[in-house]
């Protein structure tokens, strides 16, 4: 809960007490099942697509009417009629499809998307998600598809730093910011832990070996379960 943890946590064994964003993406990617239809939120979640294990076939959905997104295009292939929800150029895999926005959100709202991965400002121990507005007086409110995804996707993974750049906890008892959806988050993948949202609140499934359970708890704004059962969050170096 103090700023110290997040800003001084890079010690002698940097790979084991704090993951890079790409490593968080790698870890999350391991938990996506073969054949899943997956929507990756804008920003950090987009990294996940790079780390799907070889031979595992996943179909990526984008709100703007795309199924079957492939890897980033070469400079030569870039076509601005073919962009993802983050407005970045993409490519299509064989088997992809285009459709209009109402059909795209029918997929989301109708429970056809197996998983979405979202960023977060805060997540509460009840699974409440805040990721669209800090509610500040000067902020332009912008919600996009996050509220639809939060309630519509069968599973919601959150990918986030465990603390803000100021060192404030992002996993909390009650979200201080405006909600995106109540009770929607299933699992949170942070730079120091994998945390499941359960009926009994947050339960740490894995933590980085470089931090004690107490140190993870210290950086968290709500009680954490799993002290006796949690495993090591070990991720290879990823380029």
């Amino acid at each position: 809960m103090t700023a110290a943890g997040a800003t001084t946590g890079v010690g002698a064994t940097p790979q084991t007490d704090k993951l890079s964003r790409r490593q968080v993406a790698w870890r999350l990617a391991q938990d996506i099942a073969e054949g899943n239809y997956v929507n990756l939120g804008i920003g950090m979640p987009e990294l996940v697509a790079n780390f799907i294990p070889d031979g595992r076939e996943i179909i990526f959905h984008s709100e703007n009417g795309i199924l079957g997104m492939g890897p980033e295009p070469s400079a030569y292939e870039v076509d601005y009629d073919l962009i993802n929800a983050g407005k970045k150029p993409i490519t299509m895999l064989p088997g992809g499809a285009f459709f209009h926005h109402a059909d795209s959100f029918a997929m989301i709202r109708g429970g056809h998307i197996d998983l979405c991965v979202l960023g977060a400002f805060q997540i509460s121990s009840k699974g409440d998600l805040s990721n669209w507005s800090t509610g500040g007086p000067d902020s332009v409110p912008a919600v996009g598809g996050a509220m639809d995804l939060a309630v519509g996707a069968r599973k919601v993974f959150v990918m986030t730093d465990h603390s803000t750049t100021k060192g404030d906890a992002k996993l909390v008892d009650e979200c201080a910011f405006l909600l995106t959806g109540p009770g929607v988050v299933d699992t949170i993948y942070t730079d120091i832990a994998v945390v499941d949202v359960t009926e009994n609140g947050f339960v740490v499934r894995e933590k980085v070996p470089g931090l004690s359970f107490g140190e993870v708890q210290e950086r968290t704004g709500a009680a954490l379960g799993g002290a006796d059962t949690c495993g090591d969050l070990v991720v290879p170096e990823v380029g």
Binding site: G35, Y37, G68, G96, A97, G110, H112
Partner: protein
Amino acid sequence: MINKIVETLHDAVSVIEDGAVILISGFGESGNPTELAHALIDHGARDLTLVNNNAGNGHVGLAALLESGQVRKMICSFPRSSHSEVFDTMYRERRIELEVVPQGTLAERIRAAGAGIGGFFTRTTIGTPLAEGKERREYNGQEYVLEDPLHADIALVKADLADRWGNLTFRLAARNFGPIMCTAAKITIVQARSIVPLGDIPPEQVVTPGIFVDRVVEVPNPGSEREMIERDFRYTVGDGV
């Protein structure tokens, strides 16, 4: 590797349980998954509720399924036709329940189920006996009734082309209820005239994206319902497998 293709009609329908609500594509004689319906007779699941625009023709497909005694209830818009003798007889003998839904409301209720809509207001049926007991609301001086989504356990759909991801196209007017039914069932089972390699269907020409499809079985030469009626086709259990 994702592979939604199953080898036999028998495998395709094997997941259907007693009591299932089953959407069956087709309108009149076009787009009916006749071979899947016959496989469901072999499969034997009972106490079914079927949803189709009509109520079967001759003794083929849906009509054969009705005749088999596996169906408790029919939800449709137009059960009467020149070849609907099986349903007509069962209905008059009170051996089957009927829920009549206007065609557009039927389509929209199916679409709403697939799209995660909780309910919707429509002007259709206002002033008619079919609006009785339904919640009403006025919009811009006109009355609307509230209709619920129509969720199903199973959809049986006939398509033209399909690939291993379950992407589909439909032939001519055989499209009709197929695309929306694919969206509204827990498990969507498709018979396609031809299974093509992934990528053969251009992404702009996919009509039903594979996300709405669970199982695909190839039926290269589906029977013509019209011809089957003309030769007074009768289904014999076991023929479909």
